[in-house]
């Protein structure tokens, strides 16, 4: 079996054929995966919302409200959840750049009266084994059911009510700050929604 000769024509044709075939193949796969990809991206948010909000029957993602704030780089997102047409909760994203390795981004679910329902971590790059412990139940549970109007969102060292993560005061502060930013935004918008 002979190999194709190195003529210019052969070289161009073979590369062209390969490129065209690969282009079509990728286009096809792209079409196939387009919908699942979009769904996967949404799913992360929906999952987070399901965890931080009380049971709801609307689609909060559809009516997301984005607010610009000086305190955060990207906008704050506000999701409102309804059950039987009643407002049951509001989820607000909050973030802080003051983490040990920069950004800490959270989604915080509030009940209409301001109590924290639950918190999910959307993004963090803290030190493994230290700051990353913010994702653990032991740290998160101290926020549940608390109302930031009376519960001071500061670590105990700074005169607040939060038990900082061992060895990761900076991460804990960034976490607390994110929650505070989200709460401030919640207070501002609760009546307007």
């Amino acid at each position: 079996m002979g190999k194709k000769k190195d003529t210019f024509f052969n070289m161009v044709i073979s590369l062209l054929v390969i490129t065209v075939v690969s282009g079509f193949l990728l286009g096809y796969v792209n079409d196939l995966t387009m919908a699942p990809k979009a769904k996967a991206r949404l799913q992360k948010k929906v999952n987070a919302l399901k965890i931080v909000l009380p049971k709801f029957d609307n689609n909060p993602v559809e009516n997301v409200k984005r607010v610009k704030s000086e305190k955060v780089k990207d906008s704050i997102e506000i999701y409102t959840a309804y059950a039987n047409k009643n407002k049951v909760g509001i989820a607000v994203t909050g973030s802080s750049e003051k983490g040990f390795n920069g950004l800490v981004k959270l989604m915080i679910g509030f009940k209409p009266n301001g109590d924290i329902q639950d918190i999910q971590i959307l993004d963090q790059k803290e030190t493994p084994g230290l700051g990353t412990k913010m994702t653990k139940e032991k740290f998160l549970k101290q926020f549940r059911g608390k109302n930031p109007s009376t519960y001071k969102l500061k670590v105990k060292k700074d005169g607040g009510d939060i038990d900082a993560l061992t060895g990761a005061t900076i991460s804990s502060r960034a976490f607390a700050e994110s929650v505070q930013i989200a709460y401030d935004e919640f207070v501002k918008t609760i009546d307007s929604i």
Binding site: T127, L130, T166, I170, R173
Partner: protein, 336 residues
């Protein structure tokens, strides 16, 4: 005792086993005052950590030489002893014993013996092990017994940050140096060693006495320690003059943390420092600058160990560019 094979190495040029041993034991003598202070301040814990570090360093070196490398046992040349002492000097007195042992294993097994033993390691074993432990166990490695001012002895279990730690954290959250001045120990306390910190770094005075002994005995030359400390002083001095509320004054910077310990006992390590005068000067300035950059702008309050390790890595490069003058021909073959 069988003669070891002739060693061809870049640095250091160890003249004989005897002179090497003498140097090593002079270093040990020089470390005694600082150790006595730490025994006084931290009590029995300091002794336990130091003993464990020394014994496990010697033991690991013995085991590796006997069973893994199957070479001559050289544990009594003093180098493993010094690694053990210096490692202990860089640890808090309350560190769990098993962590001390792990640190010794890293220092001897990974940083020293993996490279072929004394004379071949690139990085200072004790410092590399300290950084290894600091990054692995940041909580335990930064818990220091706090000085109780009127009763120079420390209370067990009461822990707090070092001077540099207090400053770093305070400044980060908007305090000024004036606000912090009541929280940090007085200059005299730092000089004497009535302060929180690693076992061997607390008393500047004791370390300086030992350093003077080493200079007097010509075990170390003054270039590295003095230039390194001068660099730290000048750099922090400039920042302090610009804004004394945001930057601690040079005296605090010199007396706190591991500046003096690092300058006299670890940056001067024969194996991991440059051979020529010019090389030493570049090396020392590098350590000073990196230390200050980390202390003032980095996440870690203290940067001496990192700075020395980073400059250790530069030593081969420094040695290439500042070659010792050779007698004879100076003809260089140029390849490119």
């Amino acid at each position: 005792m069988s003669n070891p094979p002739i060693i061809i190495s870049a640095s250091p040029h160890i003249h004989s086993e005897e002179s090497l041993k003498k140097i090593m034991y002079d270093v040990v003598i020089a470390l005694v005052p600082a150790f006595l202070v730490s025994l006084y301040v931290f009590g029995i814990n300091a002794f336990i950590v130091a003993a464990v570090a020394v014994v496990s360093c010697l033991l690991f070196e013995y085991l590796i030489q006997k069973y893994l490398l199957k070479t001559n046992i050289t544990i009594w040349d003093g180098s493993a002893l010094i690694t053990g002492i210096l490692l202990a000097f860089n640890l808090p007195s309350g560190l769990p014993i098993w962590m001390v042992i792990v640190g010794s294993l890293f220092a001897i097994g990974v940083v020293k013996m993996s490279f072929g033993g004394l004379g071949f390691n690139i990085f200072n074993p004790a410092l590399a092990a300290r950084v290894f432990l600091l990054i692995s166990f940041p909580v335990q490695m930064t818990m220091w017994p706090t000085a109780v001012v009127n009763n120079t002895q420390l209370i067990d279990g009461v822990t707090g940050a070092t001077t540099l730690g207090i400053i770093k954290e305070g400044l980060m959250y908007g305090d000024t140096m004036t606000d912090l001045s009541s929280k940090i120990p007085s200059t005299l306390d730092m000089l004497l060693g009535i302060t929180g910190g690693s076992i061997g770094e607390i008393s500047a005075l004791a370390l300086l006495i030992g350093g003077a002994y080493l200079l007097y005995k010509r075990v170390i030359s003054w270039y590295i320690p003095i230039i390194m400390l001068a660099t730290i002083t000048i750099m922090t001095g400039v920042f302090w003059l610009i804004n004394p509320e945001q930057y601690a004054n040079p005296l605090i910077q010199l007396l706190s943390g591991g500046a003096i310990l690092g300058a006299f006992y670890m940056a001067t390590d024969l194996v991991t420092s440059p051979i020529t005068k010019k090389g030493m000067i570049v090396f020392a300035i590098g350590i000073g600058v990196i230390t200050v950059v980390i202390r003032l702008f980095g996440a870690y309050p203290e940067g001496v160990s990192f700075a020395i390790l980073i400059m250790n890595a530069f030593v081969p490069l420094i040695n290439t560019y500042f070659k010792p003058r050779r007698f004879g021909s100076e003809i260089k073959s140029k390849i490119l």
